[in-house]
Each structure stands twice: as C-alpha cells, then as structure tokens.
C-alpha cells in the first residue's frame, strides 16, 4: 500500500484498508518503546510543531514523546505564548510555520474544521489532534488499537460509547473508525447529549446505560464536562453518576471480560467510579501507552507521504 495522504484530519476520510494499515504500522512501533534506548532515527532532522489553540496536556505530551522517539525535533506553540492572540489568522500562522521549514503540524483547535482549513493552505502535513466537536482521529486509533490488542479483532465487536456524544470529537472519530472496521457501535447518553441524525453514522442510540452495557464487548466512557462556575454543577454531576456512571454494580450484569476504556482525563465519581477505573476491566493506562505507538505511526506515515508529494512536484 502506498500512503499518499499528507494530512490526517479525521477517520471519516480514511477507508478500512488505510485504518488497518495505520494500526499495523503502530503495532510495529510499540516495540520501540520497550527498548532501553527508546529511540529510532526514522524522523531525524524533521521538525514537528505542536500547534495547540486549546489547553491539552496529555495529547500534546503523547505527540511530543512519539515525535522524540522517532528522533524528530519538537516545537510547542500554545495560544498563551504566541502571536495568535494578536489576531494573526490561522492561515498566516500556518504559513509562518511552513516558512520555518517545519515538516508536520500537529494541531489542536477549539473550532471544528480548523485543521481542514489549515491543511488546504499549507503544503506540509497537518495532523488533527482534536478539533472542536469534529474529530480526534489519533485518540480513536489508539482506542481501536487497544481494543484489537485486547480482543483480537474489531469485526463484529459490540462497542458502546457512553457520555456526551453531542460535544465529543472522540465519539465521532471512534464511530467512524469502529464502524468501518465492522464493529457494532451504540451510543448512550441523555437525550440532550445525542446529536441529530447520529444513526446515519451507522450506530444505534440508547438512553439506558444498562442496556448499553448488556451485550457490549467494550465500553468507551467519555469525559463529562460540566460548567465549572455553574452552581448546579454538583447536583448535576451526582445525578449523572447515578444514571450513567460506570460502576462495578453495573458491570456485574455486563459481559465477564468487558473492556472499559476512557480517553482521559477521568472524572472519578462522575462518569466512572474509582473502582472501575482502577479495576480489572480498565485498560485506561494501556491506552496511554498505545497512544505513543499510534502517534509514532501517524507521524511516520505523514512524513513520508509528504516527501512523496514533494518529490512528485
């Protein structure tokens, strides 16, 4: 397979073969992180710019570690420290980064579609590290990678995604990726948090968490975000935990070897109980480890696709 996509903007834009190829490549990269010297020279001399318009520690650090294990140089730009606040447009920022002769931009943005806009306007690679409510493709890839590692195959698996689906890029990327690989996906949330026409993405919808858990081989628990300054937040959180929180009592009725995932950071006692988060079903920390391998694979493939585009010009 010839990888020619310079950008990774979302799993909606990859086909099954491409997703499988990234996962296979990631499997090979996983071994690198188990070595004493956790570094290979594949991206030596390449520059990766983490362009983050939204605070994020774990995704940025994961990308940074991945890039460094490939020997790339990493530059972090966060909105607080850059000219972004002075009103520079996204396209101008991107062109400036390109002028620095960087090779890959890893971008997090609070507006959906911002990476798409940037990718259209620069020649270098753009990797979407989460945009608005749109997509978070590397998160979904690492979720799927972890599932595949745990359960062998994705085809035919029943996966429930529980939480605020409306405002979740993780949910959207997971839905695209999982359904393309043949999983049966259901989403579960209060009515208000299910977006319009989500069924057309090939999922079933439920508002009953016990139903969502019943037949599931795996469950992906999303982080719930309640307004921090909202005085009603606390009772709302309790109510959410009561109705949708993943607890050991609920898991008793689920499949014996159900896999529990969470993209992090977790809110203990809101969407998931501590006992489950730390329990035998949880693969939350394995997800973090696998995130490195997946992001190494994505960076490696993007760098090469971009070289190919260059050499063709």
């Amino acid at each position: 397979m010839l990888w020619t996509k310079k950008d990774l903007l979302g799993l909606e834009y990859l086909n099954r073969e491409e997703i499988e190829f990234v996962l296979e490549t990631a499997a090979s990269f996983k071994e690198v992180s188990t070595r004493d010297i956790k570094k290979v020279p594949a991206l030596r001399g390449k520059t990766v710019v983490n362009l983050f318009y939204e605070p994020s520690t774990r995704t940025r650090v994961s990308f940074e570690v991945a890039a460094k294990r490939l020997s790339a140089d990493v530059i972090n730009i966060a909105t607080e420290t850059s000219s972004v606040r002075k009103g520079e447009t996204l396209i101008d920022t991107g062109k400036n980064i390109q002028a620095l002769k960087a090779d890959i931009i890893v971008m997090r943005h609070n507006y959906s579609g911002a990476p798409t806009l940037l990718a259209r306007n620069v020649d270098i690679s753009v990797i979407n590290a989460g945009d608005g409510w749109h997509e978070h493709p590397t998160q979904a890839l690492l979720d799927i990678f972890t599932l595949k590692e745990k359960l062998g195959t994705i085809e035919g698996l029943k996966v429930s995604i529980i939480g605020d689906i409306s405002h979740s890029r993780v949910a959207r990327s997971n839905i695209w990726g999982l359904t393309k690989l043949g999983a049966k996906v259901s989403v579960c949330a209060p009515k208000m948090l299910i977006p319009q026409a989500i069924e057309r993405m090939g999922v079933t919808v439920t508002h009953d968490v016990d139903e969502a858990l019943q037949e599931a081989d795996a469950v992906n628990v999303l982080r719930m975000q309640f307004e921090r300054d909202n005085q009603n937040a606390f009772p709302k959180q309790l109510e959410y935990f009561k109705n949708f929180g993943i607890t050991e009592e609920r898991l008793i009725k689920a499949k014996k070897n159900i896999v529990v995932m969470h993209p992090g950071p977790i809110n203990r006692g809101i969407e998931i109980s501590s006992a489950v988060a730390d329990g035998k079903h949880s693969v939350i920390l394995e997800q973090v480890t696998n995130g490195i391998a997946v992001r190494m694979a994505v960076l490696f493939l993007a760098a090469q696709a971009n070289e190919k585009v260059d050499s063709r010009q």
């Binding site: 397979m1 010839l2 990888w3 296979e24 490549t25 499997a27 090979s28 990269f29 996983k30 071994e31 690198v32 070595r35 004493d36 010297i37 570094k39 290979v40 020279p41 594949a42 490939l70 694979a297 490696f300 090469q304 070289e307 190919k308 050499s311």
Partner: protein
C-alpha cells in the same frame, strides 16, 4: 527483466549454511554467549536455519532475533514505495554477546550500516560478526562479511535474488538481468 543464471540450488544453500555454522563455531569456541540476529525478511529466515545448524553440530540452543531496519534507513525519502514497518524482535539482552548478524545478500553495505546502528541501540555486544549467503560486491561503505556463502561478481544492471522456502516456496539464488531502459 530476465533470469540469467541460477547460482545456488537448494542443496548448495543447505551445504553452505552448514559450512558457515562450522566456521562460526570454529571462530567462537564458547557458544554460551553466542546469538544470531537476522535482518528482515530473508536474513531472518537464514538466521533461524543457521541456528538449527549450530544446534545440530554443537547441541546448544542459540537465541535468535529479528531486526527490522526500516526506521534506521537513510533512504526513506528516496523510496517510491511505502516501506512497511515490521517489528524488531530481540527478546534477549545482547550486551556482552557475540552476535552473528545474518543477511541474504551483501551489496552496498548500507543495510548492514543500519542494522549495526539499530543493534547498538539495543545494548553493547562483545562482537558483531556478519554472515551473508551471497556477497555481490559494489560496496559503498567500509563493511565486509566475516562469513560468506558465495562470492558472486555482478554487473550493475544485475540483481541477485535469494529465494527461500519460507517466503518464496523454494530455495535458490538467481541472477536477474534488468533491461537497459
């Protein structure tokens, strides 16, 4: 493209590996800290076979590892195909070991250079010795093999193709002449 000559057949390949195994044992009197590492993909097959030969002669089980050098290549950007990254599998500590690095064909020496870099990232072996089935010349780096199955002088428009039962269904080594187009 046309096949010019068959230079090794299955029987010769098998005899050659036994000979190399003898040479390896002769050179490394103590087999306790011997290990064999093959370069993906055909070097890996040869490494396993070489370990079998050593076992037959000496009775000792020698650890075998597989090296995938894709991430160490210096020509990634020159390739016009997608190199598929496979796993490196070295499940033993290589420090203080005498490593026999195995590949099918020794040509420019660049693959071996990558393999050496990668191996050294895994630890500090006592020695690294190189065994190849075929040395076809045209070196671009100061690298030589310690154990050579057969020296085959070749022209630049020729390639040496090693076929092994594990991946190609039969054991043979042929010279292929490329069209001058």
């Amino acid at each position: 493209m046309r096949e010019k000559t068959k230079i090794l057949d299955a029987q010769t390949i098998s005899r050659t590996l036994i000979r190399i195994a003898h040479e390896v044992l002769e050179h490394n009197r103590i087999t306790d800290n011997l290990a064999i590492v093959g370069i993906r993909s055909r070097g890996a097959h040869l490494a396993k076979r070489l370990a079998d030969c050593v076992k037959k002669i000496d009775g000792k089980e020698v650890p075998v590892g597989i090296l995938d050098i894709t991430l160490y290549r210096d020509d990634l950007t020159l390739l016009n195909y997608q190199p598929v990254v496979h796993k490196t599998e070295i499940n033993f500590d290589i420090t203080d070991k005498n490593i026999i690095l195995v590949d099918d064909v020794l040509y420019t020496g660049r693959t071996i250079r990558c393999a050496l870099s990668e191996l050294i990232d895994f630890g500090r072996p006592k020695t690294i010795q190189l065994a190849v089935l075929v040395d076809r010349g045209h070196r671009e780096l100061p690298i030589r093999a310690d154990y050579v199955g057969k020296n085959i002088p070749t022209a630049c428009n020729e390639t040496v193709e090693v076929r092994l039962a594990e991946s190609d269904g039969c054991d043979e080594v042929v010279i292929i002449e490329k069209d001058n187009s």
